[in-house]
C-alpha cells in the first residue's frame, strides 16, 4: 500500500486545521488561542504549497505561501503584544472572563 505525496499532504492539512480549530473553539487561555491560530494558519500554508504542486503551479503556490507567512508573522506579533497588554490591564488571560466587547 502506497500513498502519494498529495494524499499524505491532505491528511496533514486536515489534521493541522482540525487541531487549530479545536483550539480556537475550546481553549480559554489567550496565549493558547494564539498558538491554535498559528497551527490553523500553518495548515493553510501547507494547503497552499500542496495545491501549487497538484496543479503544476509550484511557483505560484510557494509565493502565496511566502506572502501568507509574512502577514501571519505580523498577526502573531500583534496578537502576542495585545495578550501582554490584556494580562497587565485585566490581570487575567481567560478569554471567557474578557467580555468587555459584549454588545
Amino acid at each position: 500500500m502506497s500513498f502519494s505525496l498529495v494524499e499524505i499532504g491532505v491528511v496533514g492539512v486536515v489534521g493541522l486545521l482540525a487541531i487549530g480549530l479545536y483550539g480556537l473553539l475550546a481553549v480559554r487561555n489567550l496565549i493558547k488561542v494564539i498558538v491554535a491560530l498559528q497551527i490553523l494558519v500553518k495548515g493553510a500554508l501547507v494547503a497552499l504549497v500542496l495545491a501549487g504542486h497538484a496543479s503544476g503551479q509550484m511557483n505560484l503556490g510557494q509565493s502565496l505561501a511566502m506572502t501568507a507567512i509574512v502577514a501571519d508573522t505580523v498577526v502573531a506579533a500583534v496578537a502576542l503584544a495585545l495578550a501582554v497588554q490584556v494580562r497587565r490591564r485585566m490581570n487575567t488571560l481567560d478569554v471567557q472572563a474578557l467580555s468587555k466587547l459584549k454588545g
Binding site: L21, L24, L25, A26, V27, R28, L30, V33, V95, Q96, L98, S99, K100, L101, K102, G103
Partner: protein, 589 residues
C-alpha cells in the same frame, strides 16, 4: 481632460477632508483656510465641467466582474447638479468661517462637509447604478453625522438617528430597484436601464419604478417620510443650508428626473409621484404656518418646495422641475444662511424671541427679504419663473383639482414666508439682547447668493441648452426648455400665472392681516386642534416614531449575538465558512 475634471471635482473635496482632519483642531485658522481652499477649487473644477458637457462616458474605472465598470457621464443634468453642490458647498464653507469660529471639533465638521460635497458630485455624475447607490449612502452617512454634530445634545443625536433610519428605508428601496434592474438587464449601466426599460416585464419595471419612488420620497423628505427633515435642523446652520436645503434633498428629485423616461409608462407611477408631491407641498406648508422655530419653518418650506418639483415630475413637467430645483437651491441656501446669521447673532432659533432685528442687521435683512420674495414666487426673482413653469405644466397636463391644491399651496407659502420675515426682522423687539450684523465671510456668501437669486432666471436658455445633452431624460426636457424671451412671454401670457399671483397676493394680504385672522381662527375654535395636530405632524410623527422604535428594538435584540466571547465568535466564523462551502458546492452541482 473631462475625465480629469470629474476626478478632481469628486477627489479634491475628499483630499481636503483628509487634510483638514490631519491638520488637527489646535490649528483652527489653518483648518478654515484649507477647507475654503479645497471647497473653492472643487467649485472651480465643477464650473469648468460646464464647458465640457457630453453624454459619453468620460471617466471609466475598470472594475469588471459582476460590478460592471464604474463609469461617470458628465451630461447636462449631472453637471448642473454638480455645480449646485460644489458652488453652494463652497459658499457654505466660506460662511462657516464666521459661523463656526471658536467651535470645538472643527476638523470633524469640515471633513464631513467636504466628504459630502465630493459624494454629492459623485452621486449625480456616476452612470453605474451600484456606484450611484454607494454615493447615495455616503451622502446619507455624512448627513447623519452632521445632524448629530453637537453630539452632547440628546436632541441632535435623536434627530440624526431618525434621519439615518428614515433615509435608510429609501436606500433599501433604491437597492431593491438597482438589484432588480441588474438581475433583469444584466448590467448596472444607467443608460442600459433607460434604453432597455420597455423590454422588461411590466412587474419588474413596476418594482424598480416604485422602489426608486420610495428612495426619492425618503431622500427628498416627501410624504410619508417627511418628518426627518425638521428633526435634521439640529445640525449647524451652514450644513442645513448645504445638505438639507440645497443639495442632498435634491437627490430624490434627481432620481425621479433621471429615470422619468423609463418609468413614465408604468401604470399608476406618474399619478403616485404627483400625489406624493401634492400632499407633501400642502402638508408642509400648513405646518410652516404655525412653526415657532425659524429653521423648522424653513425646513417645512423646503419639504413644500420639493413637493412642487415632485409634482412637476408627476405631471410631466420635467424641465420645470429641473429649473425649480436650480432656483430653489439658490434661494433656499440664501434663506438658510441668512437664518444662520440671525441665529448666530440672536443666540436663539425661536422666532417669538426675535423681532425688530432688521434695524441692527440691515444687510442680513435685505438679502433675507430677497430670498423670501423668491420663495413666495413674486416677480421677477428666480423662484417666480420656475414656480410658474411648474404651475403651467400642472394646468396643462395634470388634473384640475391637483392644480388647485398647488395654487392654494402657493398662497400658503406667501402667508408663512411673510409671517417668518415679519416675526424676525420687523415689529417690536421681543428680546433685550444686543445683536450685530453678519461678519465679512457671512456677507460674502449671502451677497453672492442674493445676486444669484435675482439673476439666475436669466440663464434659462443656457440651462436648457446644457440639459439637452443629457441621457434620454434631457431630450424631452430640451424640447420643453424655452429660450429666455419665450419663457418670459409664455409665463406672462399664461392664465395660471395671474391666478397664482392673485392667490399669492391674497396670501400676503392674510399675512399682513394676521391679527384679525387669528381672532377669527380663535372664534371658530380651530386654534387648539390645529396646533395639536401640527405638533404631531398630522399623524405622521407617530408613524415615523414607530418605525424608528421598531428598528431600535430590533437592534437591541440583535445585540445578543455580540457575546464578547472569543470562542463563540470563532465558532461563528467557522459556521459561516461551512455555510459558504455548502452554498458553493450546491451551486456547482
Amino acid at each position: 481632460m473631462t475625465g480629469l475634471l470629474i476626478a478632481l471635482t469628486i477627489g479634491l473635496p475628499w483630499i481636503g477632508a483628509v487634510a483638514v482632519w490631519a491638520v488637527g483642531d489646535y490649528r483652527a485658522r489653518l483648518q478654515h483656510r484649507l477647507a475654503v481652499g479645497f471647497a473653492v477649487s472643487a467649485a472651480v473644477t465643477a464650473l469648468l465641467l460646464l464647458t465640457a458637457t457630453t453624454d459619453a462616458v468620460e471617466l471609466r474605472l475598470v472594475v469588471g466582474g459582476i460590478f460592471g465598470d464604474f463609469t461617470f457621464v458628465p451630461d447636462g443634468l449631472a453637471v448642473l447638479l454638480t455645480v449646485i453642490a460644489a458652488v453652494i458647498g463652497g459658499l457654505a464653507v466660506i460662511f462657516s468661517m464666521d459661523y463656526m469660529r471658536g467651535e470645538a471639533g472643527l476638523g470633524r465638521y469640515y471633513a464631513l462637509v467636504l466628504l459630502f460635497i465630493g459624494a454629492m458630485a459623485g452621486l449625480v455624475l456616476a452612470s453605474n447604478l451600484l456606484l450611484m447607490f454607494l454615493f447615495w449612502e455616503m451622502t446619507a452617512l455624512c448627513s447623519y453625522a452632521l445632524i448629530s454634530f453637537y453630539n452632547d445634545d440628546p436632541k441632535a443625536v435623536a434627530g440624526g438617528v431618525k434621519a439615518l433610519i428614515m433615509t435608510q428605508i429609501g436606500g433599501l428601496g433604491l437597492l431593491i430597484g438597482v438589484l432588480a434592474a441588474r438581475a433583469s438587464l444584466g448590467s448596472y449601466d444607467i443608460s442600459a436601464l433607460l434604453e432597455g426599460a420597455h423590454t422588461l416585464a411590466p412587474e419588474t419595471l413596476a418594482l424598480i419604478a416604485f422602489g426608486f419612488l420610495v428612495a426619492a420620497a425618503a431622500k427628498s423628505a416627501q410624504v410619508p417620510f417627511q418628518t426627518w427633515l425638521p428633526g435634521a435642523m439640529e445640525a449647524p446652520t451652514p450644513v442645513s443650508a448645504l445638505i438639507h436645503a440645497a443639495t442632498m434633498v435634491n437627490a430624490g428629485v434627481y432620481l425621479l428626473i433621471r429615470f422619468y423616461p423609463a418609468f413614465e409608462g408604468v401604470p399608476g407611477w406618474t399619478t403616485a409621484v404627483m400625489l406624493v408631491g401634492l400632499v407633501s407641498a400642502l402638508l408642509a406648508a400648513l405646518l410652516a404656518v404655525v412653526a415657532k422655530d425659524l429653521k423648522r419653518a424653513l425646513a417645512y418650506s423646503t419639504v413644500s418646495q420639493l413637493g412642487y418639483m415632485v409634482y412637476a415630475v408627476g405631471v410631466g413637467g420635467v424641465f420645470a422641475a429641473q429649473f425649480h430645483l436650480f432656483s430653489h437651491a439658490v434661494f433656499k441656501a440664501l434663506l438658510f444662511l441668512g437664518a444662520g446669521a440671525v441665529i448666530h447673532a440672536a443666540g436663539t432659533r425661536d422666532m417669538w424671541k426675535m423681532g425688530g432685528l432688521g434695524k441692527e442687521m440691515p444687510f442680513t435683512r435685505n438679502t433675507f427679504v430677497i430670498g423670501a420674495l423668491a420663495l413666495m414666487g413674486l416677480p421677477i426673482l428666480n423662484g417666480f419663473w420656475s414656480k410658474e413653469l411648474i404651475l403651467e405644466a400642472g394646468l396643462h397636463a395634470g388634473p384640475n383639482w391637483a392644480f388647485a391644491g398647488m395654487v392654494f399651496g402657493a398662497g400658503l407659502t406667501a402667508l408663512y414666508t411673510f409671517r417668518m420675515v415679519w416675526l424676525v426682522f420687523f415689529g417690536p423687539r421681543r428680546s433685550e439682547k444686543h445683536v450685530h450684523d453678519a461678519g465679512q465671510a457671512m456677507r460674502f456668501a449671502l451677497g453672492v447668493l442674493a445676486v444669484g437669486t435675482l439673476t439666475t432666471w436669466l440663464l434659462v436658455g443656457s440651462v436648457g441648452a446644457c440639459l439637452s445633452c443629457s441621457v434620454p431624460a434631457g431630450e424631452e426636457a430640451a424640447h420643453a426648455a424655452p429660450a429666455l424671451g419665450e419663457m418670459v412671454s409664455e409665463v406672462l401670457a399664461a392664465p395660471a400665472t395671474w391666478l397664482a399671483l392673485a392667490v399669492i397676493v391674497f396670501g400676503l394680504f392674510l399675512g399682513w392681516q394676521r391679527e384679525p385672522l387669528s381672532k377669527l381662527v380663535d372664534r371658530l375654535g380651530l386654534r387648539e386642534p390645529y396646533i395639536a395636530a401640527a405638533e404631531r405632524d398630522f399623524g405622521f410623527a407617530w408613524i415615523n416614531r414607530q418605525v424608528v422604535r421598531a428598528v431600535q428594538s430590533m437592534a437591541e435584540r440583535l445585540r445578543a449575538v455580540q457575546t464578547g466571547q472569543l470562542n463563540w465568535n470563532a465558532l461563528g466564523i467557522v459556521g459561516a465558512l461551512v455555510v459558504v462551502l455548502i452554498v458553493l458546492l450546491a451551486g456547482r452541482g
